[in-house]
């Protein structure tokens, strides 16, 4: 059957089998592999995309059902060459590790902030409660979304990888001193003294 929809602002039309899942359509027909899948039962939320602005689990939506709708994937988060503040927030606050759940988490965060620009932590946790992250323990995801809420215009930087590695410091000045101790210890091979 033939389907048409809008994906990240582009009109697409394809000939597909009716049973093609939206996640497969996005990944394999359109080649947008930023949308992942992690289960078959709509429990993990790795496949979340926005459909008409609302998060949906694309493993449990048929591509045919999405026809005529507006789909937004992680590839469509950055606009006009600028990273979405949510994307910047995830980098700032270590909201990702393996990166697998990240696209879905960021899209849900974007939908939440569009509806509620200043959510509290509980509202953020509720919003992402249908999505599993196996790496971060969620606290840094909550912080990432809060960062985005606090920076609605983001850094205002161009869509370029953050390379200013010296700027993100200052977690604790003490860490700077410790390596010297360790290096000295290792080089002299002496026992560590209490």
């Amino acid at each position: 059957m033939q389907i048409s929809m809008t994906v990240n602002g582009n009109d697409v039309t394809s000939e597909i089998e009716p049973r093609v899942l939206l996640v497969h359509y996005i990944r394999e027909v359109l080649g947008l592999t930023g949308t992942h899948w992690g289960c078959d039962t709509s429990n993990c939320g790795t496949c979340v995309v926005l459909m008409d602005g609302q998060p949906v689990k694309s493993c449990t939506v048929l591509a045919a059902m999405a026809a005529g709708h507006d789909i937004r994937t992680v590839e469509g988060l950055a606009t006009g060459g600028t990273l979405d503040p949510v994307q910047q927030g995830f980098m700032e606050e270590h909201g990702l590790q393996c990166g697998f759940c990240t696209p879905g988490m960021m899209l849900t965060a974007r939908a939440l902030l569009d509806k509620n620009p200043h959510p509290d932590d509980t509202e953020i946790r509720q919003a992402i409660s249908g999505q599993i992250c196996r790496c971060t323990g969620y606290a840094t995801i909550v912080r990432s979304v809060q960062w985005a809420a606090a920076h609605p215009a983001g850094h205002g930087l161009d869509d370029a990888p953050a390379t200013d590695y010296s700027a993100g410091t200052g977690l604790d000045g003490t860490d700077t001193a410790v390596p010297d101790v360790a290096t000295e210890t290792a080089e002299t091979g002496t026992e560590v003294k209490a």
Partner: protein, 797 residues
Amino acid sequence: MTVIHDRPSNPAAGDEDRPIGYGRIQRKEDPRFVRGQGHYLDDIVLPGMLHSAILRAPVAHARLVSIDTTNALAHPKVVAVITGKDLLGLKLAWAPTLSADVQAVLVTDKVRFQGQEVAFVVAEDRYAARDALELIDVEYDVLPPLVDARKALDPDAPVIRDEIEGRTDNRIFDWEIGDKAETDAVFASADVVVSQEVVYPRVHPAPLETCGAVADFDAVNGKLTLYETTQAPHAHRTLFAIVAGIPEHKIRIVSPDIGGGFGNKVGIYPGYILAVVGSIVSGRPVKWVEDRSENLMSTSFARDYIMQGDIAATKDGKILALRTHVLADHGAFNATAQPTKNPAGFFSIFTGSYDLKAAYCSVTGVYTNKAPGGVAYACSFRVTEAVYLVERMVDVLARKLNMDPAELRLKNFIKPEQFPYANKTGWVYDSGNYEAAMRLSMQLAGYEDLRREQAEKRERGELMGIGVAFFTEVVGAGPRKHFDIVGLGMADGAELRVHPTGKAVVRISVQSQGQGHETTFAQIVAEELGIPPEDIEVVHGDTDQTPFGLGTYGSRSTPVSGGAVALVARKVREKAKLIAGAMLETRPEDLEWEKGRWFVKGDPSVGKTIAEIAMGAHGTVALPEGVDGNLDAEVTYDPPNLTFPFGAYICVVDVDPGTGQVKVRRFVAVDDCGTRINPMIIEGQVHGGLTDGVGMALMEIIEFDEAGNCLAGSFMDYLIPTAMEVPDWETGFTVTPSPHHPIGAKGIGESATVGSPPAIVNAVVDALAPFGVTHMDMPCTPARVWAAMQGRARPPI
């Protein structure tokens, strides 16, 4: 020395100038991930690539009577259907495991667990491959299954591995360590002895990305390129050379971005081998990716240890000895991924963080009709089980002695001046200051106030629990004289090249599954050479591009590969010194190092930066005798000992007395992983592990019914914590560097997974103390908690 810090759990990034090297910097891998530009296994598409699917056994134990593939082969899009019989012809029906056993690639004689691989379909697309599975007719002769390890050694138990000649029972091994006679003697004369059976149920790492492979066999050149979700690409290359008979120089393993591993992606699964066979047979690339049920039902599980623990102490709370016997369920094939000489992994560190007079443990491993595996899920080679046992036993003892559990621990810790400390089972702990970490966690938690609050709540009938746990990890395997996996020493290599313009490439043998290697290892080089991290490319995950090494698991990347990277950078630094000497026409011994630069002692204005030296090395500088024209080096690091991270965790739970629901209200984690490279990444590793702990303690379990059906075959049944079940983590740290590691780092990847389950269970049991509960087994689901309150610790299902 130990440096003690506490800090707010959500610090605002400061603006203090940061010297190049260690510290909180953003991750180098994040720009691609936040754009959806990560490149995972299922994202790989090769020209002409075929897809595949595995037909799996619907029952746990059955004779295979017949397989008819006629209808499947008639499917217009099916290219090949491979059965066990086909593999017998290729001598590939059975593959060696990582524990000197063999595992069936496809069933030839008998199904041994539900979900076992029976047939392999290769087709033009993944939908067709799935459809064709339904067209294969298989006849089974169902046998009685054995899924209860306690019955595995019964005389009438079905013999699962009857294909092994002479085998008449399900015993895999008996293993012991420690001095039994000495331990028994201490127990015999102790004031107080407490015993408790502690079960660590079967759980699963369940990374969000399932396992998969794309095999591309080039028949003309005889070269196999295998893209795999693997945490250990080099070890896989060697094993594939052995298994498939392809010469090792003709095998290239590529591990792309990995969507979480946690030990699930260490082993070699039948699907990987089948993808290779499929590619050889079809002459085209073949992709195999498992679905979630396949992942949960057939790939490496974790734990499944039934531990009988005994603890002996004086009546005033001096712990004297620990003793345990473990019944270890290894499933249908002994496929645990662990060092050869350690059939129970590093469980022998069950002596924990305490100064004991004696300790003894024995472990019996058995086969059951369950999926193989056993060492996974951030377990540090079974340190999780060990720490859970000892930390539960200490709490049981505290209750017996009516002592505060924190106080009992403080009284028994190994003292800072006792390090290096040789425990009673052969480990030499490198460094530690346990009391400092414990006291810091108590201070951060407000321990005294919590106990007061608890007393008030108990008066009102409210159930609040405070759980304390302390752990000593053992990671960074390991010295090759003691540790190997299938004969491969557990070392790691590193190669560093500084290009003429001063930018560097470091190639490592370990494989990130989200830990941030591209950042951490760049920071180590940056610290050693003064090159900014953004000017250092970290190459990993491709065996054609990187030096040999055993990969990432058991928290070994920083302890082993991190050591290799520091040493290779120092080697480059020393070479740079010789070249700088030539450039400055100075004797090298007259040069002094500051980060990024060699200069003349006493005249800091005269010197050469690493970039200048690199250009010199590749340029026209007259090089000293024996120095070749580059600024490159390589090392293989064989660590002199393992490292021993530790931590003190305090958990606060509230239990609903009417329903048994447990809410983790607070969790304070103080970790010591030695030298800290990137505090942001460290904190992330801790947070993730704490969440694993909530999962295991409260909800995760793989159970089987009596017919051998796996009851956790999807994420509807295998529950993983969401953002709603975990609190906002409160973290702190102390720093006690490892004395033998090149930079003093110890590893952090699994500490929190190891340390958090006992803290949570101890908290739940503490909450239930008014009901006389002294122990309950994980997971503490509402039903089980309620049952414990009724005096029955484990409900029958």
